[in-house]
């Protein structure tokens, strides 16, 4: 219990004292996971909406593939991105391995199916004739899609929160493609793993608590946006 209590005390000390290294790690975590969520939001909501509204052969199969992707193991994503970005790999010429950009790519791959899967479910859950109702009011097709998204905004924002959660909490892929380089690609999760490995539990607990606070703040902001319009 002492270990846990010491960890909590140390966490708040680090936060209050604005420890420069912890602050840098926290900001980098926010930047990388925030960018990945933003990219995941654009790709996930756009592709999810298109898949939900379109009719094409193999639609159900594609949806089940995306739903499987919602539980994509981060190490597999890390392995895939590493292979792609490896010096002799197909995208090796970019020289992106062990950079924050590679971590953003890996986390985006994790976030996209989560956001797309929830978007598909949200759009398919709208009343069957709502699209026709909007069209009948004189809306163009792009405007119709936009109005449908507005109607589904509660579950869509839940999807974004889940996407951010998936991105910010993953560790396997970040270590594999980011390298956990101090002051460059070290984020809260990778730092926590490292400190735990070193037996430095107090610092690991402190980093874990900061990660939880960060996740809470971001989701709280998204929840406020989500609930502003109230329930339908």
């Amino acid at each position: 219990m002492d270990l846990l209590a010491d960890g909590v005390i140390r966490a708040f000390r680090l936060i209050i004292n604005l420890d420069p290294e912890v602050a840098e790690i926290t900001l980098l975590s926010l930047r990388i996971s925030g960018s990945a969520t933003l990219l995941g939001l654009v790709i996930g909501i756009a592709s999810g909406t298109a898949i939900a509204l379109a009719s094409f052969p193999g639609k159900r199969l594609l949806i089940s593939v995306i739903n499987t992707g919602m539980g994509l193991p981060p190490v597999v994503v890390g392995l895939f991105v590493s292979v792609m970005l490896w010096r002799s790999g197909p995208l090796g010429f970019i020289g992106m391995l062990y950079t924050p950009a590679a971590m953003i790519a890996a986390q985006t791959i994790i976030a996209v199916p989560i956001i797309a899967g929830i978007t598909i479910a949200a759009m398919q859950n709208l009343p069957e004739n709502l699209r026709l109702q909007i069209l009948s009011l004189g809306a163009s097709r792009p405007r119709t899609v936009w109005m449908l998204m507005l109607e589904a905004r509660l579950p869509l924002l839940a999807g974004v929160m889940a996407g951010f959660g998936g991105a910010v909490s993953e560790v396997g892929a970040s270590i594999m493609v980011g390298g956990n380089i101090r002051g460059y690609s070290r984020v809260l999760t990778t730092a926590t793993v490292m400190e735990t490995g070193k037996g430095n539990f107090e610092l690991a607990i402190a980093l874990g608590i900061i990660l939880l606070i960060l996740a809470f703040i971001v989701t709280a902001v998204l929840t406020l946006v989500q609930q502003r319009g109230g329930r339908r």
Binding site: P127, S136, L137, G138, M147, L150
Partner: protein, 366 residues
């Protein structure tokens, strides 16, 4: 009723295995056309094609004489129409947001939107609910909002898919009156899908009957309902005794049909041996405790017994088993005088001319 607002030719539309095939239909300015037919007969598919919401597989549709062929044509035609679904399908936001949604989509200036939405809310008794969130509305209020939203864009024609169903009788009647009044004021056309006879009698100038994706009858509502083309329309128009039978005798337009082992006389051109359906309205059936005297013009007298007596408003509905099940409307005075009770032996009588005969397999040309 002279200008044609929408005209469709050789319309074919598919929905899975279902096929809608309409050779020709015209909707005139200012008229209300009702679409009736059993579930799955294609009413909604037809409505979606006519309202330019779903492109038919083939065929041509004209709006005010111009062919609507491309997506852009359909978009512009839709802006001159409105649609009200069975479910009000209100958006998140207030009643005013919903009523003004079509105007906002058209990019109309804010002040004008406010004015028009205000007028519409007043016309549909929604002014006091203007700032109420749509999710807090009752069923009737939500329907009124949905109707006000449709009228707000000043459409030339309004399409309605069972807009008054699943409402209690008083809300429904109030909403129908409100709709009728607004239709009259706006002087626009309407196509309404309905399963309710009273609704159609009150609203529709003409009625089209759909069955299995084809138009089987079309004409003035009175004509269509008084001369049912099939069993569905017969039941729809209030003929509750609908029986299949075979013509066993026929002379000079007078036929005898054998139904359930009994013989019924009717007036029809049907030939001997032909399968027909006979239909009767309860108001044409007379209940008596003595058999009709010979010499009466009543051609059908069937002995039987009363199976049920139900009070329906100011009169009684008497159900009888006379070889075929029949119903009759009887006043409380007659029930008392004839001492009608369940199980009592009676004679039901009806004229041959009050029996409507449907010739099976005959399609009425449209």
């Amino acid at each position: 009723m002279s200008d044609i607002i929408i005209e469709a030719e050789n319309l074919i539309s598919r929905r899975g295995a279902f096929r809608l095939d309409i050779p020709r239909v015209r909707i005139f300015s200012g008229e209300t056309l009702a679409l009736i037919g059993p579930n799955g007969s294609g009413k909604t598919t037809f409505l979606h094609a006519l309202s330019f919401l779903k492109k038919p597989e083939s065929g041509r549709i004209f709006f005010r004489g111009f062919e609507v062929g491309t997506r852009s044509d359909a978009f512009h035609a839709r802006r001159r129409c409105a649609m009200v679904f069975q479910d009000p399908l209100l958006f998140c936001g207030t009643v005013e947001d919903n009523v003004s949604s079509g105007l906002r989509i058209r990019g109309i200036p804010r002040a004008e939107i406010k004015k028009t939405a205000g007028e519409l809310m007043e016309r549909f008794n929604l002014s006091r609910l203007a700032s109420r969130p749509s999710r807090e509305l009752s069923g009737g209020e939500a329907r009124r909002t949905s109707l006000a939203r449709a009228f707000a864009t000043s459409p030339e024609i309004i399409f309605l898919d069972e807009p008054f169903s699943s409402l209690d009788a008083s809300s429904r009647n109030g909403l129908i009156s409100l709709f009728k009044m607004n239709m009259r004021e706006a002087g626009i056309s309407a196509v309404i899908v309905s399963h309710d006879r009273e609704e159609i009698l009150e609203l529709a100038d003409r009625t089209a009957v759909l069955e299995d994706g084809r138009l089987t009858d079309m004409g003035t509502t009175e004509t269509v309902l008084n001369n049912p083309v099939d069993e569905y329309v017969a039941s729809f128009s209030g003929m509750d005794a609908v029986y299949s039978g075979k013509v066993i005798r026929g002379t000079g337009g007078s036929i005898t049909v054998r139904v359930n082992g009994i013989e019924v006389e009717a007036v029809s051109d049907a030939a001997v041996g032909e399968d027909v359906v006979i239909c009767l309205r309860p108001e044409n059936v007379i209940v008596s405790t003595v058999r009709q005297k010979k010499g009466s013009s009543v051609r059908n007298s069937l002995d039987g017994s009363i199976t049920d007596i139900i009070q329906t408003g100011p009169y009684y509905r008497i159900r009888m088993d006379c070889g075929i099940r029949l119903q009759s409307f009887v006043t409380p005075v007659s029930v008392a005088r004839l001492r009608l009770s369940v199980g009592k032996r009676i004679t039901s009588s009806f004229k041959a001319t009050s029996v409507h005969v449907i010739r099976k397999g005959r399609r009425y040309p449209v």
